[in-house]
Subunit: 297 residues, 2 copies
């Protein structure tokens, strides 16, 4: 019953996010056609939309404005999608399959993949700048937070550390630092940007959201590593077993499989505990923590 309500809520949000992305992305009939078609090919109709779900769940706690939430969701998803497009390119992970479809450089070509990523990043900032239902000062804060999370002190920085760590025996704390940037920064900012679509946050509420999002950000990566080691490509919608094949340090390679699963479970509990100040209202954020840890793909 509760699980069904959660599934329906997720469906609603995913539809909303699809609509928001549709509205943010230029039509494929707008020049240049191929670029816009490729941007839509990779951004629409797929993905778990974890970052938008986090933004919506967090926004609901603070009475988030609907237009603003849609654009925040589109913005964080476009940053995520652009990073996947670039990450899949031959000079990075060289992956052919993403979300069950050929990657952009396979379906189109490498130069187009490069430009698709570049243009999606700009479009993400435009989505936030186009919000017209929030005070401009709030919007500037949100744009700053997104830039920090996406750039060299966030996602791009994490990817750079990841690149440099191939074949190295990382310590657990180094691996954790890498992931707090690579995937954690965008997951964390999704929670915060969602909240900023609503009423002002108290310091206690902000700290609670930060603790929650740090826990689920890390849990997400631990589970990713577990799935890469245990699931098959068809289930994942991307090539499984790549980390080991690429000699990349992972939680599974450092801690082992069972301790990695236990760590994910512990982080799930920490995420729940962090939400205590919000009581029953934080149901969706709790359910998302469960989803992140218990997902199969």
């Amino acid at each position: 019953m509760t699980q069904q309500a959660f599934a329906l809520w997720m469906q609603d949000v995913q539809l909303d996010v699809e609509r928001a992305l549709e509205a943010c992305l230029p039509a494929a009939t707008t020049l240049p056609h191929k670029l816009h078609e490729a941007m839509r090919y990779t951004a629409l109709g797929g993905g778990k939309r974890i970052r938008p779900l986090l933004a919506y769940a967090s926004g609901a706690l603070f009475g988030g404005d609907a237009q603003a939430l849609g654009r925040v969701a589109a913005a964080v998803e476009m940053i995520h999608v652009y990073s996947l497009v670039h990450d899949d390119m031959p000079c990075m992970d060289d992956d052919d399959l993403r979300r069950g479809k050929p990657t952009v450089h396979v379906a189109y070509d490498e130069a187009t993949a490069l430009l698709v990523g570049d243009a999606l990043q700009a479009q993400a900032f435009q989505a936030l700048a186009d919000i017209d239902t929030l005070p401009p000062a709030r919007q500037v804060t949100m744009l700053r937070l997104l830039a920090e999370a996406a750039g060299s002190s966030g996602m791009c920085g994490g990817q750079a550390i990841d690149l440099d760590s191939v074949g190295l025996a990382l310590q657990r704390d180094e691996l954790e630092r890498m992931h707090q940037l690579k995937t954690g920064a965008m997951l964390r900012v999704s929670v915060i940007l969602g909240a900023l679509c609503g009423k002002d946050l108290s310091p206690v509420e902000l700290e609670a959201l930060k603790a929650y999002s740090a826990a689920i950000g890390l849990a997400f990566q631990v589970v990713d590593d577990v799935l890469d080691a245990t699931a098959d490509s068809a289930t994942l919608g991307k090539t499984a077993g790549k980390d080991a094949a690429d000699n990349k340090p992972t939680y599974v390679s450092i801690l082992g499989l069972e301790p990695s699963k236990e760590l994910a479970e512990q982080l799930r509990r920490e995420a729940h505990e962090a939400l205590a100040p919000f009581g029953e209202q934080a149901l969706r954020l709790r359910e998302l923590a469960d989803l992140i840890v218990q997902r199969k793909a």
Copy 2:
């Protein structure tokens, strides 16, 4: 005498821009070291800084705030530099030399070049979001304009059209449309963002700046094509004669060399005429139009 004053003004601005970039870019001692080192390698110590010069010259007309102008200059330059880094990659123009130095993918590696570009783009938006001397509503407008100019309806879109036009016999109006996006969008927005660092613009002033920047935006590309056909690599600081070698449509290939030079000169006059509403005050913008058309590299 006048020319000397202009040269000194340019030097001052270029020093200011270098300082602003220094301040915006994370230190090479900040993790991840290689990424930050590579960002600084490509962004600092080189380049004509045309876009920052335009922003400063236009900002001076409206009493532009110094902190804001520095960040605007850093932002437009970082977008420009990121586009060069990605454009030089093997899957795009495959160029080894830029501003007289090995390109980023040659000095480092392709994956680093990809991330350097991505991170510089985020850093550009952060630079604008970090301005704290302008009304937030003004800042949001500036962030929106930068996103539009950088994205698929601006620079990235122009690059996509450029890619698709290799080997095609473009008409002059198609070539013009491509360049109005590829280089024009960022040159135009540099003029407008500089102006927005100061007092409110009247509609007449805004139109005058738009006409000026459309003319110099196009002139810039016409002259680029002329130089690519006539100058040598050492003078240009990048590989000369590449357009013809790559079978790319250019003004020179469509109009011929002399008519291209005449077109540049005509655009220079149009730029001067557009500045009429500002009278003597627009001296630096006029001098920049001259520089853009009369440059040798």
